[in-house]
Amino acid sequence: DVKVTQSSRYLVKRTGEKVFLECVQDMDHENMFWYRQDPGLGLRLIYFSYDVKMKEKGDIPEGYSVSREKKERFSLILESASTNQTSMYLCASSPDRGQPQHFGDGTRLSIL
């Protein structure tokens, strides 16, 4: 079974902090994705990556950046956290474009 592991289930940070959310997958998948999930808005794509050192903006990239130095790891960075970034963050991976994505359990991030 594919395992997508997010480093924290719950995280509390202060406004202005630089926040790192880590995601690791163990199935050598090419593609990795970061979403945020908010009530009534579903999943919104922040950034995705189809290869190492490559990244593409999703629908809501503002205030975020990503890093993919190794194939198995995809990091989401909040450069200067703000309260409107309080949300559930979900990481996913897939073996090929358009194929089913496998999700981690999510990180519930609170910015105070």
């Binding site: 579903g42 999943l43 474009r97 358009g98 194929q99 089913p100 999700f103 981690g104 359990d105 999510g106």
Partner: protein, 114 residues
């Protein structure tokens, strides 16, 4: 570009009753279609997928969905629900080709009442 509309944000249903969760999509090209389920405090889990072939797709936990190309729909059904089916369900679409990731609907919260 693709888009997905889940027509109901919440669906309450009594235990052992049938349920249908509706999903319509929009795309100018051929697509793959997916249904995911999210239980409380968990990530999304794939229920079923339509890639090609038979338009009736069977998934896990007794769910099935039917791809209707003329109506651009992919509705999810279960003939008899259990309390444990209470969760949020997401429909998703992606293009067969091109550099586009999955596009998700906003979700339908299924509440099964004892």
């Amino acid at each position: 570009a693709q888009s997905v509309t889940q027509l109901d944000s919440q669906v309450p249903v009594f235990e052992e009753a049938p349920v249908e969760l509706r999903c319509n999509y929009s795309s100018s090209v051929s697509v793959y279609l997916f249904w995911y389920v999210q239980y409380p405090n968990q990530g999304l889990q794939l229920l079923l997928k339509y890639l090609s072939g038979s338009t009736l797709v069977k998934g896990i936990n007794g769910f099935e969905a039917e791809f209707n190309k003329s109506q651009t729909s992919f509705h999810l059904r279960k003939p008899s629900v259990h309390i444990s089916d209470t969760a949020e369900y997401f429909c998703a679409v992606s293009a067969l080709s091109g550099n586009t990731p999955l596009v998700f609907g906003k979700g339908t919260r299924l509440s099964v009442i004892a």
